[in-house]
């Protein structure tokens, strides 16, 4: 196959593996063992996982295989080994949020998405590394380890879902679930050359997701291609009474949107996405994508979205405010870390929170508390809520003219470790092209669209209308069917 190159099972997609499983050419246990072997091989280099549950994965694979043999499980996800970001609660399996605060936390229940995946016969391999409490763009803020970019081990995988993207790119999981608050699954997907899909706010239950900024957070799949993204979304989307923001709409079969046709589709490219901090290589790759869409019959047009200037401050103010409130629960009483040395309750709180949180988390709590404090509330928080409405309005106006917005996912490719940690404001700018979708709750997807001069992957982003997943998937699928970027695999050199 593939010019004599032997393709390994862990390199295949969900749809390919599912078909092999159904034809009984492979079985779930063998497949799970193969991916676990790949983890043993690649993990010493990449550090994608916080926790690997080898025995439980094999046990589950045995159980799932039996159910498949008995004709009790038909899902395309049945028997497929996968992993989730460590802010998604897994019953009986530690869920740390990559924080010292939750180092020993073992959830007594499964997140809604985890339960749904188990019901579909998914095989959980373990929990993936991330920036602490999903705050970061490089996964360098993890309390435990630094995940490396599979394409160049001196560079970051992006973040905060860095482990999710690196694991899928390296074949350490067939797909994963990440979360996206300002680009946290699309940006690492772009930087690691995989597909990251943030669905419309409210279409995937957040029950059991450890919150960062609840009006922005959304769970979504990180996968090897658009087809797999649709298959996973089919399993996890849907109304859930346990999440009061869950949308009560009629959920479609997302695979029906996998149509290779963009004729007459109107695509708007914000000129702000193509200038400012956007690197030359990224610009070139996206321009080539625009040409391809034109050739395929879509109508592409550049337009101005001046409100982009206000996206970063709006995002920072609201998400930090929500974070400061959400993280108030870590008090050293009910669960999580507790300081050893204190003389009263006040000191217990303060020491616990100082010891348990890392510096970026503390910075965001401090800033969030500040923008909500008496005297600052109107100037910052209320102002940002007003700006949020203006941004939503401007984006909706764009959708009066265009079916989709398209542009780069990230202004640059993966950067080297340590280059942006000193200047958080610079780090936040990495997510400025992904933030609008979270501010307005829109669906957005990142697909691989090229490589820069250093052979680092570049991501192309599509942003759709609320619940406009169908158009989004059609455009992304069409792009993928007419290009080969998603088929490239990084070479992981084992540690000697």
């Amino acid at each position: 196959m593939n010019g004599g190159k032997f393709v390994k099972l862990y390199e295949l997609t969900v749809s390919q593996l599912s078909s092999l499983l159904k034809k009984k050419e492979i079985n779930a246990v063998e497949l799970t063992r193969t991916v676990l072997d790949r983890i043993v091989e690649a993990e010493p280099v990449l550090d994608c996982y916080i926790n690997i549950i080898e025995e439980q994965a094999v046990e589950r694979a045995e159980k799932v295989q039996k159910m498949m043999d008995a004709g009790e499980l038909y899902s395309p996800l049945a028997g497929i080994p996968m992993a989730v970001k460590d802010n998604i609660c897994t019953e009986g399996i530690p869920t740390t949020c990559a924080s010292k605060m939750l180092q020993d936390f073992v959830p007594p229940y499964n997140a809604a998405v985890m339960q749904k995946l188990y019901n579909n016969g998914a095989i959980l391999l373990g929990k993936l590394n991330m920036d602490e409490f999903a705050m970061g763009s490089s996964t360098e803020n993890s309390y435990f380890k630094k995940t490396k970019n599979p394409w160049n081990h001196d560079r970051v995988p992006g973040g905060s879902s860095g482990g999710c993207a690196a694991a899928v790119a390296a074949g350490e999981a067939i797909y994963s679930l990440g979360t996206d608050t300002g680009g946290s699954l699309r940006q690492p997907s772009a930087l690691c050359g995989v597909t990251g899909f943030k669905p419309t706010y409210g279409s995937v239950s957040r029950f059991g997701l450890i919150g960062y900024a609840s009006s922005f957070d959304q769970i979504g799949p990180v996968a090897k291609d658009v087809t797999d993204s649709a298959l996973v979304l089919n399993a996890i989307a849907g109304h859930d009474s346990q999440d009061s923001t869950s949308a009560g709409i009629k959920y479609p079969d997302y695979t029906e949107s996998l149509v290779n046709n963009v004729k007459n589709m109107k695509i708007g490219i914000p000129s702000e996405y193509m200038r400012n901090n956007t690197s030359e290589d990224v610009r070139k790759a996206v321009s080539e994508a625009i040409e391809l869409f034109e050739k395929l019959g879509a109508k592409c047009e550049e337009f101005s979205l001046p409100i982009m200037e206000y996206v970063l401050p709006t995002y920072c103010i609201i998400t930090f405010a929500e974070a400061s409130s959400n993280l108030g629960r870590y008090d050293g009483v009910k669960y999580g870390h507790r300081a050893k040395d204190y003389k009263d309750l006040g000191e217990l709180y303060k020491r616990t929170r100082d010891e348990g949180f890392g510096s970026e988390v503390k910075r965001r709590i401090i800033l969030g508390t500040y923008v909500l404090s008496a005297g600052q509330y109107d100037k910052y928080y209320k102002k940002a809520l007003q700006a949020r409405r203006v941004i939503c309005h401007e984006l909706n106006r764009a959708f009066d003219k265009y079916d989709l917005i398209m542009g780069p996912t990230s202004p640059s490719t993966a950067f080297r470790f340590g280059t942006k940690v000193e200047d958080p404001a610079e780090m936040y700018k990495n997510d400025v092209l992904t933030m609008p979708a979270n501010i307005a709750g829109l669906p957005a997807i990142s697909v691989p669209c090229g490589f820069d001069g250093d052979s680092m992957p570049i991501g192309l982003q599509f942003i759709g209308k609320q619940f406009g997943e169908s158009t989004l998937l059609r455009a992304a699928y069409t792009f993928e069917q007419n290009t080969d970027f998603h088929k490239n695999k990084p070479v992981i050199k084992p540690v000697i």
Binding site: A247, L312, V333, H337, L348, L367, V371, V390, A425, Y428
Partner: protein, 95 residues
């Protein structure tokens, strides 16, 4: 805008985070940079714009008040750093 050490002291107190002196000093520069970025919003005219509390048309969700399965006390307390006689344990609050 300047974010003084006194402001950090006050906000750290509100946040119940016992930052060390060194942490407070290290925080000033990055926090000032981020605030400068946030201050950009002042330029945006938001006269008569209603603050946006919800991005999706949220309505109150009501349901019957019925008894449902909960968790065993032991399971919940298993995550507590300290517990005693089936309760969370904290330092004495009232003298």
């Amino acid at each position: 805008m300047s974010f003084s050490k006194e402001t950090i002291d006050y906000i750290a107190e509100l946040s119940r985070i016992g930052l060390s002196e060194k942490e407070k000093e290290d925080m000033v520069a990055p926090v000032e940079k981020i605030l400068a970025c946030m201050d950009k919003l002042e330029e945006l005219d938001t006269t008569n714009i209603e603050p946006m509390e919800h991005i999706v048309s949220a309505v109150n969700v009501f349901r019957e008040d019925k008894v449902e399965k909960s968790y065993d006390r032991d399971i919940i307390l298993a995550n507590a750093p300290e517990h005693e006689d089936g309760c969370y344990s904290v330092p004495k609050i009232v003298e």
